[in-house]
């Protein structure tokens, strides 16, 4: 076989100038591949990022980003001084974290269980059906949930009644409302989240299972020692990325389902900002809130990125 111009790629070379230029030449296609993405990101992400300045301004539209008055951290101070801010932040974190953790757990379980099913047709049907609720908006589901969860003839309470459980006011009780939010969100999204784990499962080498079987491992052991480690990187990756959402508790859902009697347990940052916006154009405040959310997410992601690298010696991205 003829050798091309390429050196074997992954041999460490001490860097003298000639080697460096060689590597540059070899890596040139890699730079070419990445360039279109770099340009688009610059145009559509970095240029608009100048808007962050609004968080530190009293933004006046026709004076723009350069002409508006700078107010330092006033917008952040305004945010922190809002009454109930601690309740609201607590609700947000609690609801968002539960959705992330439980949502991922349920999706992984569903993927594993689907993986155990042998009847192709049933598997495909189940997959398709559980994926469907993702496509319903909360505007539609809100109305349906009020009916389904009603204490007065709602199907869920009727079912609970069969087991002798008193009707529960899921949408109107402060102890049940967050649980209802979390459960309905998981129900809506778990099927869709399953897809990615199913894709990850396909990449596990089947010969591993055969070898394990010959060694006498049962399905449970195989799952524990082959399947889970197989999808491990993806699980860790998704967990890490989802930290970007720890302050996003799902505006649309909460907005459609909450009511004054559950403000105490259900009011989140986004719904509060929305109500403020109704009184006035407060671009500064909403930009400040978003920046605050981004910074928290960024810190969390960077810390966990470092941790994963330290513990597992694996760069997740």
């Amino acid at each position: 076989m003829l050798r091309g111009d390429f050196d074997p790629p992954y041999t460490l070379q001490e860097g003298n100038d000639e080697m460096k230029s060689n590597r540059w030449k070899r890596n040139l296609p890699l730079h070419l591949m990445i360039i279109p993405g770099v340009i688009l990101i610059f145009l559509f992400a970095y240029i608009p990022m100048g808007g962050i300045a609004m968080a530190f301004q009293k933004f006046i539209p026709n004076r723009g980003l350069f002409g508006s008055e700078w107010v330092g951290f006033a917008n952040f101070v305004y945010m922190i001084n809002m009454p109930d801010i601690y309740d609201v932040v607590r609700n947000t974190v609690l609801i968002a974290m539960s959705k992330i953790v439980l949502g991922q757990f349920v999706a992984i379980m569903a993927a594993l269980l689907l993986n155990e099913m042998r009847n192709r047709r049933v598997v495909r049907t189940v997959q398709t059906l559980i994926y469907m609720p993702h496509f319903l908006s909360w505007v539609i589901l809100g109305g349906i949930l009020v009916d389904v969860l009603s204490t007065n003839g709602g199907i869920v309470n009727q079912l609970l009644g069969v087991f002798g459980i008193e009707p529960i006011f899921f949408l109107g009780s402060n102890s049940w409302f967050p649980i209802t939010l979390i459960a309905s969100d998981i129900w809506k999204e778990f099927g869709f989240s399953t897809i990615i784990y199913l894709a990850a499962l396909t990449s596990i080498n089947p010969t591993l299972y055969e070898a394990a079987y010959i060694d006498g491992a049962n399905r449970w052991k195989q799952t524990l020692h082959i399947t889970l480690p197989g999808i491990g990187p993806i699980v860790v990756l998704l967990a890490l990325l989802s930290l970007g959402n720890v302050l996003n508790a799902g505006f649309e859902q909460v907005f459609m389902l909450y009511s004054p009697q559950v403000y105490r347990s259900g009011d989140i940052i986004d719904t509060m900002v929305y109500r403020i916006g109704f009184q006035d154009f407060q671009y500064g405040v909403s930009t400040a809130v978003n920046l605050f959310k981004s910074v928290i997410s960024m810190v969390l992601i960077i810390i966990s990125y470092r941790l994963v690298y330290k513990i597992a010696n694996y760069r997740i991205f």
Partner: protein, 292 residues
């Protein structure tokens, strides 16, 4: 696949099938409800009398939709957007993910690139700056305003680079020995081996493009250019009574059965995509072909 056949295994299967099928039915119910509403008479719908079966069955809602020329053209625009947008998403995704899947020892610029991309996933400029940028680029009222801003998805890239890194290293090395360059390796070896992950990302991209509606409202100035979801979302709103000059106008309010019929018709195509893509998820094709 190796399959033991003990009693406990059978019990497990029985339980597993029952749970999953019950879950599926649970997911199906709201769709049946919406379906029933769309085939019902609007008076019954407004009375909340429709549950899981149409009341006073009629096809008014569907004949109304199919008679609306805007629906058809919006559908067509959505189709264009989804196909074009997904192709660009996936292409850019693999083009960026491939270099980033290399070790930084061999591609030193990697870490700079990675953080360049990651940062944009964490911080955004916000609605108004985005709008101003798109306007400055002259993209208002063009289909590109819906495609280009999201063309590079960092989320997809991170997923894809992790899938790429899962491929056996030896493949690449032996290809280099055979004289192949990076372009050849990406398109001839990596991509065919990554069908499940490419299918996953394509599906996500398609769903994203099909469902997106707010960008259409923001960047398109003519309702006749709206993609389907923008068209539907802007119709399904609570009418604003305070803007009303004369009560006789209110007779034109679209009724709920029409709205649900529109939702139903708008959702069907994207629901049908998944069963089609499922054949790319068949277990084992990846490593099997690698070995061969």
């Amino acid at each position: 696949m190796v399959e033991p056949n003990s009693l406990s295994r059978k019990l497990f299967h029985a339980a597993n099938y029952s749970i999953m099928i019950a879950l599926s039915l649970f997911c199906l119910l709201p769709f049946i409800h919406i379906w029933a509403i769309s085939f019902s008479d609007s008076a019954a719908v407004n009375g909340g009398l429709v549950k899981l079966w149409p009341v006073d069955f009629n096809l008014d809602a569907y004949s109304y939709i199919l008679g609306d020329s805007k629906f058809g053209s919006a559908f067509w625009i959505s189709l264009q957007r989804t196909v074009l947008g997904t192709l660009i998403n996936v292409l850019l995704c693999v083009l960026v993910a491939y270099p980033l899947s290399k070790e930084s020892t061999h591609f030193p610029a990697r870490s700079v690139y990675v953080w360049y991309f990651m940062l944009t996933m964490l911080i955004g400029g916000g609605l108004v700056p985005n709008y101003m940028a798109i306007k400055a680029y002259g993209l208002i009222d063009s289909l590109w305003a819906l495609i280009l801003p999201g063309a590079v998805s960092v989320y997809f890239i991170v997923l894809m680079l992790n899938f790429f890194r899962g491929l056996p290293r030896e493949l690449e090395e032996s290809a280099f020995v055979d004289g192949a360059g990076h372009w050849t390796i990406l398109f001839k070896i990596y991509m065919p081996l990554s069908l499940p992950s490419i299918a996953t990302i394509s599906l996500f991209a398609m769903v994203g493009h099909w469902n997106a509606w707010f960008d259409g409202l923001l960047y398109l100035n003519r309702p006749e250019n709206y993609p389907l979801q923008t068209f539907l979302q802007t119709i399904i709103t609570q009418p604003d009574m305070s803007k009303l000059h004369d009560v006789s106008q209110m007779m034109n309010v679209t009724t709920r059965n029409v709205k649900t019929a529109q939702i139903f018709v708008g959702m069907l195509p994207i629901l049908l995509v998944y069963p089609f893509l499922q054949r790319f998820f068949i277990k084992g094709i990846v490593v099997g072909s690698v070995k061969g």
